[in-house]
Amino acid sequence: MAVPRRTPLPVAVLAAIGAAFVALPLMALVVRAPWSTAGHELSSSGAWTALRLSIVVSACAAGLAVTFGLPLAWVLARSELPGRAVLRALVLLPLVLPPVVGGIGLLAALGRNGIAGRLLSAVGIQLPFTAAGAVVATTFVSMPLAVLAAEAGLRSLDVRLEHAAAAMGASRWYVFRRVTLPMLRPQLGAGLVLVWARALGEFGATITFAGNLAGRTQTLPLAVYQTRVTDPGGAVLISLLLVALSLIVLVALRERLFTR
């Protein structure tokens, strides 16, 4: 445990500037919001439809990201696979790519004329312009966070506990389920929170790959973007809705999952 110390003045000053930098735009949104007509604005701007869709899309994307991210993290942390460094760079790439690049790539891969999308459309599956497409785009962008969190967890884990369980005759699946997974819970929880928060805010890949249609692919960020000119007050309110939702996810899940 670190001994609590007085915060050095330079640190405090720069930290205060940093915090104000983040807080100021959020406060400005609160100040600018047309509170007196908020209820009416939100229902007329289609915010509730977008909110529902955002929750469904981000939850599905977070689920998928963890489903595939955890095994990927296992391979990166535990396997002897040659070229793991390259694999890791590849898997983390969506984190630093502009999301619109991801959207164009997804179109080229999974669009109606995409290299794999042709096969999909041959069996009647279409992703662009569907909610499923929004989930795919969002998963693409947010999965690296799940991989990062799970890999960090796997690496920091005390393998002797797993060895001990195995030595006592537990099967590999039993060890994974009853020893590894419970020990990973804080990291997986942290990963899930980040993935979900990132998924809620996803814009570029979604509008590029899935398009923008209310009720089908128009998530909250897209709704903000579309209403910002025709209805600036409504856009501010939807933005606040998004801020509130992200805050709830970050705070609530943190309490539940980070701390054991």
Partner: protein, 254 residues
């Protein structure tokens, strides 16, 4: 304390230092223009720069509605060229404009992928069940014009039911069709540029149902380069500008 001052000073220097690198030119003209003008204005900008070395024209292309909003909130534009009078009127109210002139017109056209998956030969066909139609969003000029054209063809309601995406601007509609993701879109005739033409098939809309967009240009009041702005507006509305606009598929102003 010295170190603190040094740190804060470094941070304070960082911000303008980073900002300055973005605009090094003394005579930099900022033009906000509708995204349908991208190809034509890029060429006109080069010609304008060639005519007066030392001038640099920076363009901000986007949907006219969005440009008008950012001019009103930020006021950094010298010139505004809009795809509709509505958004120019908005900028004229605040912060104000001068030297306003209509400089071009543009027809609407239907575009489909080259293999025409939904068999679209007329604007009425856009109402056929199952056609994946992409329009610019309502509020974006080309989106509003497209809805007007569908209305005068009597197919607005069934066609809107076919809309799979409301795009940010005409360029995004073209991208969705050129990639073959959607079956049909409505854009400006000028959007079917030489580069785009091989990737889409154009279906003409008869005059009776077509909507002709009129493009106004003006000097934005309070911009940093008013004289240069006036010169640019004169250049666009002059013979050289008109010739370039015609080359890129625009009609002359009425």
């Amino acid at each position: 304390m010295r170190r603190l001052l040094a740190l804060v000073a470094a941070a304070a220097l960082l911000v303008p230092g980073c900002a300055r690198s973005a605009s090094a030119h003394d005579r930099a003209l900022t033009v906000f223009a509708a995204s349908s003008l991208t190809a034509a204005f890029t060429q006109i900008g080069k010609d304008f720069e060639a005519a007066d070395p030392g001038v640099m024209v920076t363009f901000n292309f986007g949907p006219s509605d969005g440009l008008a909003a950012s001019i009103q909130s930020e006021g950094t534009a010298d010139v505004f060229a809009s795809a509709s009078g509505t958004w120019m009127d908005a900028v004229a109210r605040s912060p104000g404009v001068s030297d306003r002139a209509d400089f071009a017109r543009n027809r609407l056209v239907i575009i489909t992928p080259p293999n025409d998956p939904a068999k679209v030969t007329s604007i009425e066909d856009l109402a056929n069940p199952g056609v994946k139609l992409v329009l610019a969003a309502a509020g974006v000029p080309v989106g509003d014009y497209a809805r007007e054209a569908l209305k005068s063809a009597g197919v607005l309601t069934p066609a809107l039911a076919n809309v799979v995406s409301n795009e940010e601007d005409d360029a995004s509609v073209v991208a969705k069709i050129a990639s073959g993701e959607a079956d049909a879109g409505i854009v400006y005739a000028s959007d079917v540029t030489e580069a785009v033409a091989p990737t889409v098939r154009a279906v003409q809309i008869p005059d009776a149902q077509n909507v002709i967009a009129t493009y106004p240009i003006a000097v934005v009041s309070g911009g940093p380069q008013p004289d240069l702005a006036r010169a640019f507006v004169a250049f666009v509305t002059g013979s050289e500008g008109r010739a370039t606009l015609a080359k890129f598929g625009f009609l002359p102003p009425s």
